[in-house]
Every structure is written in structure tokens, then in C-alpha cells.
Amino acid sequence: MRGLLIRALLPLVAAASLAACGSKHEETPRKAPSAPVVITNAGQQIDAIRRGVPIDKEASPLPMARVENFDRVRPVNYEMQPPTIPHAIDNYQLTVNTNRCMLCHTRSNAKKFQAPPVSDAHYLTRDGKVLEEISSRRYFCVQCHVVQTDAEPLVANRFEGLNTTLAKEEKQ
């Protein structure tokens, strides 16, 4: 009878002792993550990835920049600069099958949509042959022409655009 009782209790005792062993190895609770660091010097910080936030701190991300969409031609800053796109181009299909940009900016349609036509150079092959449609080497518009966002520049600079320089020269 007694032997039976011991035999019945044995697994319980074993389980209890195992549990006691387990508690010894339990990990100490981890430190709660510190509050996210708010980036305040977005415009001056040259480190674009961490923005000067220490590696052991979490940064609260800056709001995403928005694409400028005002449809007015921006001045060109230097000679031969590809003009920037003054409107949103979200989901415009620019693939091997179709080119949404050329719907309005092709020479034949530009007037109808009041869009600036692409320059004549875009219709030339590398051998100087004039084509009817845009040359394949100019096909991928966003390789040179890009949208602009309202993001603050990462570093201050004293670059003066072509127009500013010309205006100064005229004054002198």
C-alpha cells in the first residue's frame, strides 16, 4: 500500500523539482526599450540613414516627403540640366509596352495637353537620324527627369542657379 503511494507521488515530486530547476535558469526580464528619439535637425544632418541618432536608440521616423504637384515649369539651374517634373507621376506606366509620359509630352500631343514637348534631341538616334517617335535611347524618361518632394535638403549649400547668376551679371 505504502509502496504504491510512493510510486504515485514520485512523478509529482520529480515534476516539482524539475520546475524548481527551471526557475533558476529563467531569463531576467529585458529592459524596456527607451522612448524613440525625435529627430529635430532633419535639415542639417548629413547622415541620411540614422540622422545622428545613436545606434542603441530608436528613432521616430520623419513624416514622408510629398511629391510637389503644382504643374508650373521649374527654372533650370544649369545649362543642359534635364528639367524636373512639376507634377506627380504615381502609377504612370513606363514600361517596354507603353510610355505614359509621351502621351502628353510627345510633339504631336503637347499643344493639346498644354505640356512642354520633349526637345528635338530626343528624336535622334546615336547616328543622327531623325525618328518619328522618341528615340529608344531617350525612352526611359525618369532616368534623367525626376519629381521633386518637399523634403528639406540634407545639408545647406550656397549653390546659385543659372538664373541667379545671370541676373547678377546683368546688374553689374
Partner: protein
């Protein structure tokens, strides 16, 4: 000779039909007039409701994307567009653009869609390559349909009278006023490929 053969065929067919015909034609022996009238009425409701429910079931996105042809090609493409993912969370499912809302037109479209069941069975677009090869033809069908009904499925949600042109970007507002407002163009004339990738558009006017 042929007349005689036709006659024997008809007699044999009539032999199959006759028992059913006499049963249907004879006045009811066991059921009252009221039971048959009311029963017919209730059965009619159940049938009609069931029919429309089944029809609606084939209008759901889950039904359309249950085929890999739709799920892997056109539905995957839709996910990146504004008709799936946007600031306000209002979105269109397949049938909003591809099935007319008006009942008779919807039935017509559903009958046309039996061709798609045929295509599914015989695997006419079962691989990505086959789909891309056929894409221009399929797209042309949809453009023709939307052109013919003056982009009705677009206009079910986008009504010109309710568009605030001042809240559109200047070029969009101006072009909508000039071409859509005057009825010169309809939505699909300029907005091809709004929800899916385009096939090779060489020679196809887009604006």
C-alpha cells in the same frame, strides 16, 4: 425517304416525352388549387432569390481570384494601384468595373462570361506567357465595351457633375473640363491601364 426517317425519330422522341407531358397536362388529383398557387409562389421566391444569390456569388472578388489566371496576373497588378490601395480605403473589386450593375446588362455580360469558363477549361491563358500573348486581345475587348457604354462602370462611382475640378491638379482639371465635360471623350479614352498593366500599345491611341 428522309421524311420517313425524321418521322421515326420524332416518334421515338415523343415516346420519351409523352409520360411527362401527360402528367404535366392533367389537372392535379391530390393537391388543392391553393396549395399549388401558394406553393408555386413560394418556390418562385426561393428560386429567384437563389438565382440572384448565386449570381452575386460570382461577382465577388474571392470568386474571381479563385482562378490562378486572375489571382497571379490581373489581381496582383491591381494591388499596386489606387483602386486597391489609397488614402480613404474605398476600393473597387473586379466586378465593380468589369460587370455592369444594371440587371439585363449584367445577365448579358454573365452569358458572355461563359466563354471565360471555356477558356478556363481549355487553359487558354493558363501560363503567364500565354496570358501576355493574349493580353492585347483581351484588353481590346474591355476597351471596346467601356467605349460603347460611355465608361458606364467608371461613372458608377466617378460622376463628372460631382467632380470638384478645383481640387484636382491644374492640368487634370483643365483636361477633364475640356474633354470629359464637353463629352468629346469618355474615361477609357485616356485612362487605359488604370488598374492593370498595359499590353504593347504600339498604334493604339491613349489620349
Amino acid at each position: 425517304m428522309i421524311g420517313g426517317r425524321l418521322r421515326t425519330i420524332w416518334l421515338r422522341v415523343w415516346g420519351w416525352i409523352k409520360p411527362f407531358w401527360t402528367t404535366v397536362w392533367r389537372p392535379s388529383l391530390h393537391f388543392s388549387m391553393g396549395f399549388l398557387t401558394l406553393g408555386g409562389f413560394i418556390a418562385g421566391i426561393i428560386f429567384w432569390g437563389g438565382f440572384n444569390t448565386a449570381m452575386e456569388a460570382t461577382n465577388t472578388e474571392a470568386f474571381c481570384t479563385s482562378c490562378h489566371e486572375m489571382n497571379d496576373n490581373v489581381f496582383a497588378e491591381l494591388k499596386t494601384t489606387i483602386h486597391y490601395n489609397n488614402r480613404s480605403g474605398v476600393r473597387a473589386v473586379c466586378s465593380d468595373c468589369h460587370v455592369p450593375h444594371n440587371w439585363t446588362d449584367k445577365m448579358g455580360r454573365k452569358m458572355q462570361a461563359s466563354k471565360e469558363v471555356w477558356g478556363k477549361i481549355f487553359g487558354s491563358i493558363e501560363s503567364r506567357e500565354k496570358f501576355l500573348d493574349k493580353r492585347l486581345e483581351l484588353a481590346k475587348h474591355e476597351w471596346a465595351r467601356l467605349k460603347a457604354n460611355d465608361s458606364l462602370e467608371c461613372r458608377n462611382c466617378h460622376q463628372y457633375d460631382s467632380m470638384d475640378l478645383t481640387r484636382q491638379s491644374p492640368r487634370a482639371g483643365q483636361i477633364h473640363q475640356q474633354y470629359l465635360g464637353t463629352g468629346q471623350k469618355t474615361c477609357i479614352d485616356c485612362h487605359k491601364g488604370i488598374a492593370h498593366h498595359l499590353p504593347n500599345m504600339k498604334g493604339i491611341p491613349q489620349g
